[in-house]
Amino acid sequence: MPQMNMIQALNSAMDITLGRDPAVVILGEDVGYFGGVFRVTDGLQRKYGTHRVLDTPIAEGGIIAASIGMAVNGLRPVAEIQFADYIYPGYDQIVSELARLRYRSASAFAAPVTIRTPCGGGIRGGQTHSQSPEALFAHVCGIKVVMPSNPYDAKGLLIAAIEDDDPVLFLEPKRLYNGPFDGDPNKPAVPWSTHAKGEVPDGHYTVPIGKAAVVREGREVTIISYGTMLHVAEAAARALGLDAEIIDVRSIVPLDVETLVTSVAKTGRCLIAHEATRFAGFGAELVATIQERCFWQLEAPIERVGGWDTPYPHAFEWEYFPGPQRVGAALKRVMEAR
């Protein structure tokens, strides 16, 4: 099977959907001639032309609004927002329009728009190139939210998102574009070619939205995470020699509650890790859901690890990032509590 990094996998997903369905169009800032600042749309304009892979004005609100209108007219726009930190000028069109159009019109109209955007830190991007805003969309009814943690899922989920008749926010953990990351910035970079999920079929396949993945089975503790933090948590558990069950949420909305609950009911202990700011982050929803459904099986308080409740500071990237130490300490707490 071909080896792909996440950028190539995403590119392949768009290439395939552009090729199969003339309704698919790509649009966004610098996505056309240049192929995107992270090169995710590289070569697509050359292959599919300037009318299907469109450069746009720098107006995220306009990009989302135009995408909605295009979708209502039968296209399947895939809009790129250059950084998740810059999605807020489009927030109104997403929250008030994209997410609610089907509902308010009783399915007379719908807008199958996919919004791709790189998120997360770890690349020295400072407070405006590092955010993980999933919680700000998870609370909004009517838009699906996914985040892959590896090239295989990235391609399969992106194809699923583009083919989905509901709008999907597709968050790409940019720290993982070129390789998995265990949370230690001092180690040499590891490429996806060394990782099983770096094997990605050339052709069409989907990874279903709404299903979490049990990445590793285990009996002692359930670790629930997604995106970059999945790898960090995995490494932390390994370092502590824990027999952890590790779950990649993948789909934030809809959430695969059953997979999470089955696991925690089994292990009795649970740690939740995400990179976003902790307070009112998506981890809170995960904790709340699990304590509601697994209260009697829980042997220790659910631990929640996240970024601090501050913006993501340029100079303190690794102090902010919930790295192996923060995760490890929380894992110890959850294992020791009794």
């Binding site: 746009t56 004005p57 209108g69 308010r104 399915s107 109209f109 809809p254 509650v257």
Partner: protein, 411 residues
Amino acid sequence: MPRPSRLHVPHAPARPGEAPDFSYVRLSPAGSVARPDVAAAAVDIENLAVELIRVLDDDHRALGPWNPHLDVDVLQVGLRHMLLTRVYDDRMLRTQRQGKISFYMKSTGEEAVAVAAAMALRPSDMLFPSYRQQGLQFVRGAKLVDLMCQLLSNTRDMCKGRQLPVMYHSVPGRLFSISGNLATQFPQAVGWAMAAAIKGSDDLAATWIGEGSSAEADFHHALLFASVYRAPVLLNVVNNQWAISTFQGFAGGEQRSFAARGPGYGIPGLRVDGNDFLAVYAATEWAAERARKGAGATLIELVTYRAAAHSTSDDPTRYRPKDDAERWPLGDPIERLKQHLIALGEWSEERHATLAAELGELVGVAWKEATNYGTLTEGPRLDRDLMFEDVFKELPRHLIEQREQLRRERT
């Protein structure tokens, strides 16, 4: 001592207790504005954003190059749609006052803006209205009962009870779902038009926004995207002078016309007498032809007056003179078309009265039928399970669970 403020704060020309003052409205004589070729460059026709395109003069004649020379039966259809709009509005307001519906918004005085435009377009053109163009619905063949069921949020409500009254839509009528969030439809219409162009179709999109709402970001995005991609779209600003209690000066209308925003983006701006059925028709026709020729978008300002309250929650006597509407210099659109037809010898006060009675009857019958399907307070109600549908195309598990929970709650 602090120095006095140097801020400029716009003010309304007249407030309650003062005499109406419309000296600020720049008028042009009917027939006086040249009609350029539809492919004219935006820079060469900037005068159209300053002057006022008018066809009907004070003697009810149709004058000048913008006269669309419509057949009499077209004029009569237009009059009927406008009158139906008014009758419907008046009647629905009463039902709200009687507590039958929760809310209503009239378009009184602005009927030509919607009716003439829709008649000048093709049925395959897609319309993205705001909440004050009910005339579009009638031109596009909406059934009164269907509209009323929406107002009633009853068992036949096209919106399945999700939307406030007047937030209609129609798939066969190609009328986009109306949003309670101002201005959002403006750039969406541009996206629709971009898609039409990408598909190589001849269809265009038309959209309407209030002059107050043109202050929103969406207005700028719409003009910009329309300009960059030369999208086949008609961008209509309905300048009815008021945004709830706020005078149009606060939307930037004090310094320049709203039409004048277009040329800055390379888009022609037409300033049109919005109470002149013929002028609205002609301007729309011009812009549609331009768009279909591939010359891109047009910004059309319809100068009109919101003769009624903003909505049933509003009382305009608190912020403007009681008799403001009557003094509006551009008159009433229905009266003006009626008088034009009478002047042509194709209409009479009697026929008008008969038509009004007939339409009143139609509306009354439809209302009776609609209320059979339930009202806010009585009769059959929508199945509450519907609340959980259409959030997504398929019901996800958490909403199935919540539906079950609600069922338990109420038993």
